[in-house]
């Protein structure tokens, strides 16, 4: 069984739950940027939550199936169509050999997750099938899909008509607030600059991608004067090279905050104001360019509570589908 790529969309790649354990040698965890949507898409088609899926960004691909399969699309609202006829999102549906899966215009969110019963069966590289495009590693030939590709699919047992109730889907609604834990370089900016950073509304820059989400439109940061440390660059935002955690918020030259995401670079010489908490990382994955957002400071206790709540919501959704 295979999927033929008729048109690839904008940046469609094979992803799963990533390859933890190699970040210290510069290979990021990677995997589906929206972990919730990745896991649920798999469960809807009867796969393990960590099976490989296709992540489509902003625009869907057109795919042709060589054998019957069960498919589900979760994440951003990218309406699936089988032979031109619309199908629901967050619900499994059947396709026959020769059927074409295409997509309408993206209605909300940024990334859709396309799971196929049996999972995408590309080779496992360093413990994962996810594609790390920057390192040309894993996935389908280490790259985004191209027209003419034939993507292998495993054998599955999924059933059509399985759906996740609307109230369990999460999703982005209303004003976007990204909760952030201020970090060890916070002292580099003035108190007034720190206050403004949280007051300002920032907008997602069109450059935002799997490596990092860039924001612009807020007030440039004012730095505290210092003597340039040995080994740090001359810009006031430079530090002696340090590790970059997932979710860390670096602000090169104090102008445009960048939140590192699943394909993050592992270290460098920009100070980080803090980290966006793990509970809000899926939410970032669904932000379109130009979306207004604010950063909201939280304490470590609040971050841990939010993580526990997020895990409980996921467990509830997974229980509904595996019961």
């Amino acid at each position: 069984m295979a999927i033929k790529v008729i048109t690839p969309g904008l940046a469609t790649s094979v992803q799963d739950l990533g390859r933890p354990g190699y970040y210290h040698v510069g290979i990021p965890e990677g995997g589906g940027m929206d972990r919730f949507a990745t896991r649920i898409a798999n469960l809807l088609v009867g796969n393990e939550p960590g099976a490989a899926i296709l992540e489509a960004t902003f625009m869907g691909p057109e795919l042709e199936f060589t054998a019957p399969a069960v498919v589900a699309v979760t994440g951003g609202e990218l309406p699936p169509k089988v032979n031109g006829e619309e199908r629901p999102t967050w619900e499994s549906f059947a396709v026959k050999a020769g059927d074409r899966l295409s997509f309408g215009y993206l209605k909300s969110g940024a990334r859709a997750y396309i799971a196929v019963s049996g999972g995408i069966d590309v080779p496992v590289v360093l413990g994962s099938r996810s594609t790390y495009m920057l390192g040309a590693l894993g996935g389908f030939e280490g790259r985004v899909l191209k027209a003419g590709d034939e993507i292998p699919v495993g054998t599955g047992t999924g059933k059509p008509g399985r759906s996740l109730p609307t109230d369990l889907r999460g999703g982005v609604s209303g004003a976007i607030e990204l909760r952030m834990l201020p970090g060890i370089y916070w002292h580099r900016i003035t108190e007034a600059a720190g206050k403004r950073f949280f007051e300002d509304t920032w907008k997602v820059a069109p450059e935002a991608d799997r490596i990092g989400y860039r924001f612009r439109g807020g007030t440039p940061l004012e730095f505290v004067a210092r003597e340039q440390p040995f080994g740090a660059g001359s810009d006031p935002s430079n530090i002696v090279d340090a590790c970059y955690p997932y979710g860390s918020v670096q602000v090169p030259s104090g102008t445009e905050p960048i939140v590192l995401h699943r394909d993050a670079v592992s270290g460098g010489g920009y100070m980080m104001l803090g980290v966006v908490i793990s509970a809000d990382m899926d939410r970032i994955a669904q932000l379109q360019p130009h979306t207004p957002a604010r950063f909201v400071p939280v304490t470590l206790d609040e971050a841990l509570t939010a993580r526990a709540e997020r895990r409980a919501a996921l467990a509830k959704a997974e229980d509904t589908l595996t019961a």
Partner: protein
């Protein structure tokens, strides 16, 4: 009348660079396959092509406008 819609969310540009003329001026004729603008997203530029031929193009989006997927960029007769 037909509309040309943006396939992607991003920033709309009417010309290939700031010092070149727009791909199409208001009132121009359009042939299927003609590039009418660019959408910038994720560090790359994507051509927006007319899917059908028509006359008298009228732009609904300005240069550098933020656009959503499915947003009308231009009308043609």
């Amino acid at each position: 009348m037909a509309q040309i819609l943006s396939p992607l969310p991003g920033t709309f540009y009417r010309s290939s660079s700031p010092d070149t003329p727009p791909f199409k001026a208001d009132g121009d004729d359009v042939t299927a396959g003609d590039v009418i603008g660019l959408i910038e997203v994720m560090k790359s530029f994507h051509e927006v092509k007319a899917e059908i031929s028509g006359k008298n193009i009228r732009f609904a989006a300005d240069n550098e406008d933020p656009v959503m997927a499915g947003a009308p960029l231009a009308d043609i007769d």
